[in-house]
């Protein structure tokens, strides 16, 4: 079943086209990977889907409803949550309070929000850091916290923007498990990731952006064999091959 679809989505900055007429479709329960060289427009696409940028053209349908250019808090209310490439923690709040901000998206009162928040902190494995001021956390823990925060809003679709960037190999595999666990819990995932091995292993399908346009789409195996993708990535193609 189709959960989200974007049709001919376009974004320009000062006349330069950052994302050009991209079509995108995500099925319920899927993990869709989004890759592309730096500057391909991945984060711009995310920002349009989540209401941070106004699209200059095209349409976004979520659960059959037009959510194009709604405000980000409205989009969150509809069940679409995101994390940020550069983490944006509420530094002066504790880990629990950080997640509670997300939990209040659906909780009716303070104790309920605390309960939901505690649940998702445990879910990402941070329950022992509840009272810690977030600015004291390591980057790995901050990324997990961002996931917990986004999950606490109760989304059906979660957009993950390079949640593995800057993590140690151990942490990467932990986050990979986490992503799978998120899907098991019925949340659909769209993720941008530079760590190819992780992305290829997790994704059901992969979409490749290049110069703001869709270059290819398919299963990880198909993408790896696609000569256009290899060309776009040049050096990185070995990484792809190595994984397979």
């Amino acid at each position: 079943m189709k959960l989200l679809s974007a049709n001919r989505l376009t974004k320009k900055f000062l006349g330069l086209v950052a994302v050009k007429e991209v079509d995108l479709m995500i099925n319920q329960g899927e993990i869709l990977g989004l890759i592309g060289p730096n500057g391909a427009g991945k984060t711009t696409l995310f920002n349009m889907l989540s209401g941070y940028y106004r699209a200059d053209g095209g349409q976004v349908l979520f659960k059959g409803e037009d959510i194009t250019n709604l405000e980000s808090h409205q989009i969150c209310k509809k069940g679409l949550a995101r994390t940020f490439q550069i983490v944006k923690p509420f530094g002066k709040l504790s880990a629990l309070e950080n997640v509670m901000v997300g939990a209040f998206n659906r909780a009716r009162n303070y104790p309920e929000a605390a309960e939901i928040a505690a649940h998702y902190l445990a879910f990402v494995g941070l329950d022992h850091k509840k009272e810690t001021q977030v600015k004291e956390l390591t980057i790995g823990d901050q990324r997990k916290l961002e996931m917990a925060r986004a999950l606490a809003t109760g989304p059906q679709l979660l957009l993950l923007d390079e949640v593995m960037a800057g993590l140690t190999p151990t942490e990467v595999s932990m986050v990979m498990d986490l992503v799978l666990k998120v899907r098991e819990n019925g949340v659909t995932v769209l993720m941008i990731e530079h760590i190819m091995a992780a992305l290829m292993k997790l994704s059901d399908r992969v979409l490749v952006l290049h110069h703001g346009e869709k270059l290819a789409e398919g299963t990880p195996a198909e993408i790896v064999k696609n000569p256009k993708v290899a060309e776009a990535y040049l050096g990185e193609v070995e990484m792809l091959a190595n994984y397979q």
Partner: protein
Amino acid sequence: MARTKKGGSVAKSKAMLGWALPVIIILLVLPWFVNSYLLNLLIMVAYGAYLSQCWNVMSGYAGQFSFGHAAFFGLGAYTSSLLFVDAGFSPWLGMIAGALVAGLIGLIIGYLSFRYKLKGHYFALATLAFAEILRAIFTNTPFFKGAMGILIPISSKSTMFQFSKKVYYFYVIFALLVLLTVLLRYISRTRLGLYFVAIRENEDAAAALGVNVFRYKLAALAISASLTALAGTFYAQYFSYIDPNLVFGSEVSINAIIPAIIGGVGTVWGPILGSLVLTPISELTGTLLANYSGMNLMVYGFILIIVIIFLPEGVMGWIQNRRTQYKVKQDKSALARKEGKIHETPLS
């Protein structure tokens, strides 16, 4: 797990109550036994703390740095005074009317500023400009009595917010301060308070988590503006005279900012602590060096410079940071002991 945290904070607030109650009782009795000079000092401390606490709601908690709180203060002072002088309404009612007017103007200012996404310096300058606009309007409009200002007729009737004894003015401003502080402590444990801080810490992240940033910023501004207006009415009744420069001038805005900065921005006790430190110093230098006007402001400036450089998060921030550092150290040494690597830390 959530319950233990909540239990903890209830215990903490009970301890706080046990500590605050005697202080409140002492402060209720004390004013009867001090001379007029000290009584005035007590009133000014409470007044300074209240004004700064109002600013703290919007600029400390919700992070929208205002340099124009004089706008709301002046609206409160003028609304109640005009209603009193021209229409005979009790300033008690006028105070509420003033809060409504200031809240409404606050909403308009906020709507314009936040709609056009003013932030940081630009927002601060815009609030300053709005206060100056109000000053210009009140200075030049005969209906508002122009630059001459308003002299409040003395009646000593408590129903008219006037008292034969100064001590009752203390009770009024002290009650306002206590109520606001309790309210703020309460808010800081609700969705509203959490959202305020989230917006201050990172607007984008808050919006991504479903927080209607625009609406909550407006709420912070409106609440802060209404509360500030109450201080304006109190000022008018206590000093019996207002004019546009006195109540819309930037000195009022500065007085609203500095105690919170000294004591600790975005903390419940910061403005109170700040006023406790600053007001006596300012009043003392004012009396001791009465021949040199402005000495108190010079001291203000000096303290402000020192605090910004050495205690950038104010006294409360400094205390809290010390506490966390201590805790982290303790945690580390506990961990070290657990792992069998005991070193004799010269901590305790």
